[in-house]
């Protein structure tokens, strides 16, 4: 199977760090030391993919931000990994003038323009440093890969291409052009790194269509340029992607506004929803000190702890898509296994200690047995340490999530929303939940109400609406997001079709008083053990239609672009009749982990198919509501 996009991007980075030569596996090679200079864009790209240790292994002794005070290190080559912006170019020229390093390898995240290249050239000339600028490369890495099959466009300045920026009513053409160009530039880099030219499908009449048109044009131009094409087909043939080209589905956020507001039940999505989770890093407050605070005392000092959730963390990879109760059980199991192993090592250690004193014991056991035991205990030590660290990490994270679930009664919200979205019968009235002071923050209630509003077949009557509004205001909600949703519902016709969210809902497994026997840390008392049944969210459904070439009124009208075709055709009849094996779904306007998880589950059920998920920005429900509110206030 072809390498995942994460592997490809990581490989590209490693190659760059090896002075743009393929990295050698030979550990006997002489070490070469270098310094890495990046800007914030570069940092965001590198940090989810390479740990500091890997950088060190590649000989990078120092990694520094471009716009920081840097001392000269005269004997060492410097590798730059920056965006070709005005500011960055100026700083590079300054570095050249100050003669900070021995040689300079300039790598630009996306292609540098000719005029900026000339700026660097003139600075190099005036500093007499032309020979020191050893290499200049366009890396085409302007996107961030978070998972094997998930990527986002950028993290810095993402408000410039956010849902809000794209959908604000007073947007100017030039602004829209600029946003589209940014998105297309990143997508182009993505396809260059992936090494494939896709077939593009998009809906009509929205931002997704604009992106598709521009991307098609850009890919086409590049393919036509014989001298400089980045997609020379022959090199890609050997096992990159399968014989078929991938499908690229562009979706617009406006087709589904309920999913970003949804309360969720899977581990990764929950972490993103309730904790501060950013570029695969969770940041939490850890309270220090005893639980009982003396009366009138100062507030407990809180430390901020952050954890990286990486590809190497096996527990995470296995359980990031699991429903939360399963995660809690598994952490407990891991802890038990670890304790057993720890006891074994301790036992071994005590035996060793004993033998050191007792002469008779030594002679009876030969030296090599000792060494073997010692070696195996010693070699299992790093593993054990690592395991302990991960177990602690997940215990802390899961506990924090559980606290949120319990205090906000998120299980109730989840269940109710699932029922709303699947049109099942509701056992409680919406008003009850909204007026319940124990259940959830005002934001939770707003989310619930918005989902209700979005998925309702008919708009609620005026009196009902007023009743709801009153209840919401009483609990302290901000209703401006509702204004926006009303407008949105008015212009999107999609909202009229109710069967968007699938027909199967949630099966509650009954209340649990305790998930595990005593000694467990995850007491899920009063929390429902809910089991998710697979149902397709709108984005997944659209992907399914297009990938399997199913006919469906929703997607039949989608446009079709093939950059490899000689003449761009306006028709939307696909020439390819076979189902696709690989697909990339990209949501313009933002996405979240719920959609991602839904796609992952969909793909699991179809062996042999691969789906990648991307979005212009990643937000959780809280961030999304803020954007909706500010849109509703205009």
């Amino acid at each position: 199977m072809a390498a995942s996009v994460r592997e490809k991007q990581a490989a590209a980075l490693k190659r760059m760090l090896n002075f743009n030569a393929p990295p050698l596996k030979n550990t006997a090679a002489e070490p070469v030391w270098k310094v890495l200079i990046y800007d914030r864009f570069g940092q965001d790209i590198i940090s989810p993919l390479l740990a500091v240790k890997e950088l060190r292994d590649m000989g990078i002794t120092l990694h520094l931000l471009l716009h920081s005070d840097r001392d000269p290190i005269p004997d060492v080559p410097a590798i730059y990994f920056v965006m070709p912006t005005e500011e960055n170019i100026d700083r590079i020229c300054q570095d050249l003038r100050n003669q900070l390093y021995e040689s300079y390898y300039l790598n630009f995240i996306s292609a540098i323009s000719r005029s900026k290249l000339e700026d660097i050239a003139s600075a190099a000339l005036s500093a007499n440093a032309v020979t020191q600028v050893t290499k200049v490369f366009d890396q085409y890495l302007n996107f961030i890969t978070l998972e094997d099959d998930m990527f986002i466009l950028c993290n810095q300045n993402k408000e410039l291409i956010s849902y809000h920026a794209i959908n604000k009513p007073d947007i100017m053409d030039t602004e829209m052009e600029a946003i589209m160009d940014t998105i297309v530039d990143s997508l182009f880099c993505f396809f260059v790194t992936l090494g494939a030219v896709p077939i593009i499908r998009c809906p009509r009449g929205n931002a997704a269509e604009m992106v598709a048109v521009k991307l098609d044009k850009k890919l086409r131009e590049n393919l036509r340029d014989a001298r400089n094409s980045l997609f020379t087909g022959d090199n890609m043939g050997a096992g990159q992607f399968s014989f078929q080209r991938p499908l690229f589905v562009l979706a617009d956020r406006n087709l589904d506004l309920a999913t970003p507001l949804h309360h969720t039940w899977t581990y990764q999505a929950l972490i993103h929803d309730v904790l501060d989770f950013h570029l695969n890093r969770v940041s939490m407050d850890e309270s220090v000190g005893s639980e009982a605070s003396p009366s009138g005392a100062r507030p407990k000092k809180k430390n901020k702890k952050s954890y990286d959730l990486t590809a190497a963390d096996k527990f995470w990879q296995k359980h990031k898509g699991s429903p939360f109760p399963e995660v809690a059980e598994s952490v407990q199991e891991e802890l038990d296994t670890y304790r057993a192993q720890e006891d074994e090592v301790k036992r071994l250690k005590s035996i060793m200690g004993l033998e050191g004193e007792d002469e008779g014991a030594i002679s009876s056991i030969s030296m090599s047995d000792n060494t073997a035991k010692l070696t195996s205990a010693v070699s299992s030590l790093p593993e054990l340490l690592e395991k302990k660290r991960l177990i602690d990490l997940h215990t802390n994270v899961a506990t924090a999530v559980l606290d949120h679930i319990k205090s906000r009664k998120l299980d109730v919200y989840f269940e109710y929303e699932e029922k709303l979205m699947s049109k099942s019968t509701l056992d409680k009235s919406l008003l009850d939940i909204i007026s319940d002071p124990d259940a959830g923050t005002p934001e939770d209630k707003m989310r619930l109400f918005l989902i209700f509003y979005i998925t309702a077949l008919q708009a609620p009557s005026e009196t009902d609406l007023d009743q709801y509004k009153k209840a919401l205001l009483e609990t302290g909600c901000d209703l401006s997001s509702l204004n926006y949703i009303k407008q949105w519902k008015a212009f999107t016709k999609i909202a009229a079709t109710p069967s968007n969210y699938g027909n199967s809902g949630v099966k509650p497994m009954g209340l649990f008083s305790r998930v595990m026997n005593s000694g467990s840390q995850f007491v899920m008392e009063g929390v429902k053990h809910l089991v998710l049944k697979q149902h397709n969210l709108p984005v997944t459904r659209i992907l399914d239609n297009l990938m399997e070439m199913k006919s469906n009124p929703e997607t039949d009208d989608y446009r079709y672009f093939d950059p490899k075709m000689l003449r761009g055709s306006e028709s939307s009849t696909p020439r390819n009749k076979n189902p696709f094996q690989e697909a990339i779904v990209f949501v313009v306007g933002g996405g979240n982990y719920i959609e991602y998880q839904n796609l992952v589950d969909y793909t699991k059920a179809k062996p042999g198919k691969r789906v990648l998920y991307g979005c212009s920005e990643l937000f959780n429900a809280g961030q999304f509501i803020k954007q909706l509110s500010s849109l509703g206030q205009k």
Binding site: N20, P31, P74, D75, T85, S115
Partner: protein, 318 residues
């Protein structure tokens, strides 16, 4: 004449690349007949297919420089070419030489590994293995001393060096130390493999040291039962007994020396392992010192290696 191209509104916002991306522009280059350097793509190496995903602009850059230089011919910069700061270079030279020695020793270790893995009784290059073991041990000791020397240099310069230079130097020292540690580890495991093989060989030979007696015994009994003269049987039996005895003695002698050499080797291995333990201890000590001097804490932290080395030491030298 090279023209400057305008690329739309220049974006003055912080750090955002909103200008149209420039993917290729060899056209300008071609206008100047003197600079006929075609923009070559780097040759695609056999293994790495994805090499095509980057674009090499180096040649373009160099041609731009040349053309700009041509324009500026009258105005020469008075700035001198970069002169290396001499102070730093001896650190670098030492570090480079250590690196080279490390890779040499590693190559020797690889050779030793191959030899030690051989299990045959007859093709046993015992002498060669012994020599190589000795050499590698000496190398490791020597490298250990050199790295300690390097670290001393770093510490001496601490006051003068800027913080970046200091971090850079100490990172180099730590990386060399960890390479040495992992190599010592490999060396130790090679020695273990070797001693296990020796034991195995010994256990395979042991039965044969008793066997000759019994086999000769059988022989003689057969002999006595054979068609040969019954009268001579006693004599021949005596002779054969003597013969047998002397044979046995010879064998025993051979075995003795064999066993002796094996025992020596085992002893050498044991002492080497103990010495390695002390090297580990020294390394852990150095690493601890390193921790104390390093002031810059980066955003990503990972000092698991240090912990592991310390624990290894603990286990090896209780």
């Amino acid at each position: 004449m090279n023209t400057r191209r305008c690329h739309g509104p220049r974006n003055s916002q912080e750090g955002v690349n909103l200008g149209p991306a420039q993917t290729q522009s060899p056209l300008i280059q071609l206008q100047d007949p003197q600079l006929t350097v075609p923009s070559l793509r780097p040759p695609a190496p056999l293994v790495d297919i994805s090499n095509m995903s980057v674009k090499d602009r180096t040649n373009e850059f160099q041609s731009v420089c040349r053309s700009l230089q041509g324009r500026q011919n009258g105005v020469q910069s008075s700035k001198p070419a970069l002169s290396a700061i001499r102070q730093h270079s001896d650190f670098n030279l030492l570090a480079k030489s250590i690196g080279k020695d490390l890779s040499n020793t590693f190559a020797k270790l690889e050779k030793l590994t191959i030899l030690a893995k051989r299990k045959s009784l007859f093709d046993d290059n015992a002498v060669e293995i012994e020599e190589l073991t000795y050499i590698v041990k000496q190398d490791i000791n020597c490298l250990n001393k050199q790295i300690a020397q390097l670290q001393g240099l770093v510490r001496a310069r601490q006051s003068q060096n800027g913080i970046h230079l200091q971090t850079h130097s100490s990172t180099i020292v730590v990386s060399l130390q960890s390479k040495l540690a992992s190599m010592s580890n490999d060396f130790k495991s090679v020695l273990e493999v070797r001693s296990a093989n020796l034991k195995e060989q010994k256990s395979r030979i042991d039965p044969f040291s008793q066997a000759p007696a019994s086999s000769f015994h059988i022989h003689t009994s057969n002999f006595s039962n054979s068609l040969l003269m019954q009268d001579d049987s006693k004599k021949t039996a005596e002779v054969s007994i003597d013969f047998r005895a002397s044979q046995q003695l010879q064998l025993i002698n051979k075995q003795d020396s064999y066993i002796q050499s094996r025992a020596d080797t085992m002893q050498n291995i044991e002492t080497t392992i103990v010495e390695l333990g002390s090297i580990f201890q020294q390394l852990a000590h150095m690493v601890k010192e390193q921790e104390e001097t390093a002031e810059v804490r980066e955003k990503w932290e990972d000092d698991r290696e240090t912990e592991i080395i310390k624990l290894l030491v603990e286990m090896l030298c209780p």
